[in-house]
Symmetry: C2
């Protein structure tokens, strides 16, 4: 029961942060949406900041297996990154909260700033390592694994942002697939 | 004189929006920073929304010649896009306000939503046209001009965001140059 209620609160927080940003949404609004008092909500999450951090962790859990390929043998990598982009399209609330909170974290004294910086470093290093294991220092295209990792992360974030701004555009998974194919280079299976 | 005061107000608004977001900064704070009353400020910009739109236009003016290459003959394109990324690094306030406001515009009822969507469409179409004029439907790498335009825009936004989150990273101009070289393809001068 406690778990279900926690999930409900996280879901309400996700919706309200996506609608108004972290700073624009209040604990009272979140409590009201799940039929709790503010005190009742604080029993599950002792502060708004703690709720934010829990929510970011939850989002990461949901996304983890999709962001970076973990079964390279099964599908070619360009198809996998295209599927990761397509996954975001099926979960627009998650995608939106990520883009909004990451940018909001650039404002002064935002509680999620460190989280996003560390998260970005971790993902970039992870992609670099996966690329190095497979290709060494350079991809078949000639691109360094470091540059390719930064580019992959930038493409994921940037294409997501383009789509969120303009939901009519539907070509982002295919853009991701074809761009990543070129960046890997001609000898990719 | 009127123009100087307008510039001062725009600069103060840029700083305060970058610190607190559009919604987090008040007209009173902006007025105070330039030594005006709220009424005095409203004489130059009749609403907070009008001030935001003017600021976005100003930013666009400052950035325009750097975002997309206009003298292809003079320098190769990868060097030019690297210089555009380097330009952002010399103007962190501009870069920050852009990333923060674009993401904040995804929240409900934000006054800059339409601006960013239209701006993105315009830039994407402009890059596509420039690429088509030079290469036809496909770049020498085999990538379609449409996909390349979406990717270039995503890389500019995504790399900027990575850098803003983690100012210690210094390799983004070089990442941009090398990635764009690979995306264009082997026959690029």
């Amino acid at each position: 029961m406690g778990n279900t209620r926690r999930e409900e609160i996280l879901e309400a927080a996700m919706d309200l942060f996506a609608e108004h940003g972290y700073r624009g949404a209040s604990l009272d609004q979140i409590a009201e949406r799940v039929g709790l008092t503010r005190q009742g909500l604080l029993h599950y999450f002792p502060s708004k900041k703690k709720l934010l951090i829990a929510l970011l962790g939850r989002r990461e859990e949901l996304n983890r297996e999709h962001l970076v390929a973990d079964h390279l043998a099964e599908k070619d990598w360009p198809t996998q990154v295209a599927e990761a982009v397509a996954f975001d399209r099926e979960h627009p609330a998650l995608a939106r909260i990520h883009t909004i909170l990451m940018a909001e974290s650039l404002t002064e004294g935002h509680p999620a700033r460190e989280y996003f910086r560390d998260h970005q470093r971790t993902v970039r290093e992870h992609i670099t390592r996966r690329l190095s294991e497979r290709y060494g220092d350079r991809l078949p295209s000639g691109l360094s694994t470091q540059a390719a990792a930064a580019a992959l992360l930038a493409l994921i974030e940037g294409l997501q942002q383009q789509w969120l701004l303009d939901l009519d555009q539907t070509d982002h998974p295919e853009v991701m697939r074809s761009v990543w194919s070129v960046l890997l280079g001609p000898t990719t299976p």
